[in-house]
């Protein structure tokens, strides 16, 4: 926080409001940055978005989900849901089992309406889950960018 001299009249904003404002504004800014990058640089931008999100996801998986515990679909889904919760998204875990889990996100906070950009951006979620266990596969079952009412991730344990 920026410390102010007591003599200055400044209306403090409650933490709940600051948290909502910050996560919404930053997500919107990321969305705008990505959309305009695709307008300007085309497929090159999509590849850049994928590669940056892959690296970010691996670091997040290490930072947020370190420690023991099972690395099945259900555990990975909970870990992913905690990440989405931290960055201010609203949604729910619909199904939770070791073999399969489903997560629903209420709306796209990035304001993305193109399926190609959605696929590139959700590299973050896919790579995050794969970083937890490489036998897990993520599929985007529903996509608000494609006209669905919400976004839905399905996580399956695949046999190798």
């Amino acid at each position: 926080m920026i410390r102010l001299p007591e003599s200055i009249d400044y209306e403090e904003v409650p933490i709940e409001k600051r948290y909502r404002a910050a996560t919404r504004a930053l997500s919107a800014r990321i969305g705008a940055l990505y959309r305009r990058a695709v307008d300007e640089f085309g497929d090159e931008a999509l590849e850049l978005i994928r590669s940056v999100n892959r690296r970010h996801a691996r670091d997040l998986a290490r930072d947020l989900c370190e420690g023991g515990g099972p690395r099945d679909a259900g555990a990975a889904a909970l870990c992913l849901a905690r990440l989405l919760d931290l960055v201010g998204m609203d949604g729910e875990v619909l199904e939770l089992s070791p073999a399969c889990a489903r997560i629903s996100v209420e709306s796209c906070p990035f304001g993305i309406s193109s399926p190609e950009l959605c696929e590139a951006r959700t590299t973050l979620e896919s790579e995050f889950v794969r970083s937890l266990a490489d036998d897990l596969h993520v599929e985007i079952e529903k996509c608000a960018a494609l006209g669905d009412e919400s976004c839905q991730f399905r996580i399956d344990r695949v046999s190798r």
Binding site: M1, I2, R3, L4, P5, I8, Y10, V13, I15, E16, R18, Y19, A21, A22, T23, A25, L26, S27, A28, R29, I30, A32, L33, Y34, R36, A37, E40, F41, E44, L48, I49, S51, V52, N53, R55, H56, L60, L78, A81, R82, L83, L84, D85, L86, V87, G88, M89, D90, G91, E92, V93, L94, E95, L96, L124
Partner: protein, 163 residues
């Protein structure tokens, strides 16, 4: 909030904890993309960051105009403080005069490592400040990515402007 199948929250974290841990995740996501854009596309990448930051600043300007009643240096300076407080920037107001306000930040929340990327990104703040008062300026006089130990964000009246 994110719910479990039984309706309970997925995380016991308080809103303070969520702010402290969640906001930096988004800030780092922005910084990483900027750095990659600048590395791969050079000046074109930086121009892109400037353009999108300016567009975003202009979007926020309409809201800022409703909130900031007076377009003097101090009122606009406190609006910048409000923006910084939303993302929990650590710092202090070291100067609060009628012609010049300085917000000193102890660390960069993103954190940027390049002055070019920092300059391109802070186009948003510049557009908001200069849009709120056409005789106002916004400059980053000291910059951590530029090698200084703090960042000084200065909102000032243009020379010859109304006091």
């Amino acid at each position: 909030m994110f719910k479990q199948p039984d309706g309970g929250p997925v995380s016991p974290a308080s809103v303070e904890e969520k702010h402290e841990r969640g906001v930096p995740i988004l800030l780092q996501q922005i910084r990483r993309f900027y750095e990659e854009l600048a590395r791969v596309h050079g000046k074109r990448g930086l121009d892109h960051i400037r353009r999108v930051s300016a567009e975003y600043g202009n979007e926020l300007l309409a809201r800022a105009r409703k909130r900031v009643k007076e377009n003097d240096v101090q009122s606009v300076g406190l609006y910048v403080v409000r923006i910084f407080n939303n993302i929990d920037v650590d710092g202090e107001l070291v100067e609060f005069g009628p012609d010049r306000v300085t917000v000193r930040c102890q660390q960069c929340p993103y954190p940027f490592t390049s002055t070019e990327v920092c300059e391109a990104h802070t186009t948003m703040e510049r557009v908001i400040v200069e849009g709120l008062g056409d005789d106002l300026t916004y400059t980053v006089e000291r910059s951590i990515p530029g090698g200084d130990d703090v960042c000084d964000h200065v909102i000032a009246r243009r020379k010859g402007g109304r006091s």
